[in-house]
């Protein structure tokens, strides 16, 4: 089955991606800030068929004393997939994958937040994947930054994330679910666009150093375009 799909693709046009995008083209992107009533800040993001909701509570009192830091706030993150977000129903509750993503998401966001301004408190970030179609961790981080900004939490920058990788012998930006599954490599990164500092970096698959350089540049380029949409979402909500 898979072999048929791959060969038919390579036969037709090596440069064309299954969804017709150019190698350096993002999927259609939509970001909206302030979509939930109760949360202190929230954002809804669609990229391709991904649908992600992010909410922020805090800075607020931290009840778990062993996590408390006397000189700064902590930033906790929970990445969660809805049972209906994927083809085969996912059992509710955290699994190893979502625990790992929660951890790296929290680490990706922390450098941008002035945590030292809120000692002994917590900022809680909740990411809910309502529909998954490849690249949900990046979508989650991008949405979470907008939600943090919507919550009015002081930040140095709005972290943005995008993946690049290799599929069909081609280095490409913003992998779809199919490209991620069938492809040779996936390289999600998150960065702070003002300084270009990278706050998340993962990779799986196989790339030559040259391909790796290309992929990283593509991911950075993707981040820059997405960053503009993040700013637009905040401006749409609050004006210039």
């Amino acid at each position: 089955m898979i072999i048929i799909l791959t060969s038919s693709l390579t036969n037709s046009d090596a440069k064309k991606r299954p969804d017709g995008r150019a190698f350096d083209e993002l999927r259609p992107l939509k970001i909206e800030a302030g979509v939930l009533e109760r949360a202190d800040g929230s954002a809804y993001l669609e990229i391709g068929d991904n649908k992600v909701l992010a909410a922020v509570y805090g800075p607020r009192e931290l009840h778990v004393r062993r996590l408390l830091k006397p000189n700064m706030a902590i930033l906790r993150c929970r990445y969660n997939m809805a049972p209906f977000s994927v083809e085969d129903r996912k059992r509710p509750g955290p699994d190893r994958r979502s625990v790992e993503i929660s951890k790296i998401t929290s680490e990706a966001l922390q450098p941008a937040v002035f945590l030292e301004k809120f000692p002994r408190s917590t900022i809680d970030v909740f990411i809910e994947v309502l529909q998954a179609e490849g690249g949900t961790r990046c979508a989650g981080i991008t949405a979470a930054s907008v939600a943090l900004a919507d919550a009015g939490i002081p930040m140095r920058d709005m972290v943005v994330a995008c993946a690049a990788g290799k599929s069909n012998d081609q280095v490409i930006m913003d992998l779809s679910e199919w490209e991620d599954k069938e492809g040779e490599a996936d390289l999600p990164i998150a960065l702070m666009p003002r300084t270009g500092e990278i706050t998340l970096m993962q990779m799986d698959g196989h790339l030559t150093s040259e391909e790796f350089n290309q992929a990283m540049d593509l991911a950075i380029k993707g981040c820059q375009s997405i960053s503009e949409e993040q700013k637009k979402a905040i401006k749409n909500r609050y004006g210039d």
Binding site: L36, E37, R38, A39, S42, D49, K51, L53, A54, A55, Y57, R60, R78, N80, A82, P83, F84, S85, V86, E87, D88, R89, P92, G93, P94, D124, F126, E128, L130, Q131, A132, E133
Partner: protein, 270 residues
Amino acid sequence: MVQSIVPEIIRESVTNIIKNGERPDGRALDQYREISLETGIIKKAEGSARVKIGNTQIVIGAKPQIGEPFPDTPNVGVLITNSELLPMAAPNFEPGPPDERSVELSRVTDRCIREGKVVDLEKLAIIEGQKVWMIFLDMHIVDYDGNLMDAAVLGSVAALMDAKIPTTSCEEDEIVIDYEKMVPLPIKEQPLMSTMAKIGGQLVADPSREEEDILDARLSVGVRTDGSICAMQKGGSVPFTREEILKAVKMAQEKTKEIREHLPKNLKQK
């Protein structure tokens, strides 16, 4: 979940407003907040809906899976209802396994849908005693602003009405699933739920979060299209009188008629 603390002064003022026949948000005692309902919003789910009552928002997905029937009902499909009160939905909701409130919500919704005969489960058998369709109904509560039960039932019925399952046939003990030919779930009925809260001796419909925080008691009533009753749940630690219950049921029958207007029209006649 941490119990939210309500200052005595707010409890008193809200109760007094309602005693005077008014409500904190200006509604009439029997008036619902604005309701909105969209279906087919999640492509990866075979059926889905997003429901809002006021600022309460639930995203619901229905997913079919082939599984084994319960031994006592070998020829009947399985419906499993599950809800997650997400920590994003309210500051006092906490991550972790479903707490008693979440379990109550899933179970009451399940009862209303099951006893209201929404899905003709007997048509979901594939091989008697061996394979049946299991329908997983997952409710994702993303924003909590009161009256989850009515929203959960409305959204669940809409998601089930939206759901399509692949056709199956049996060839020499093997099940052939045809994803090219999707058919709607066999929908028999559309029960809905309406909740009345007792505050200051008055009954109010569609309690907001502010009202839920201080209510004495509540009664949720599941009502079928013909007005008959299919599920009930009392909540809160104050008792109801017989008269109050009868009045609440009557109000629920009236109110579910209004809510019914929000269900997708094309399936309503079925």
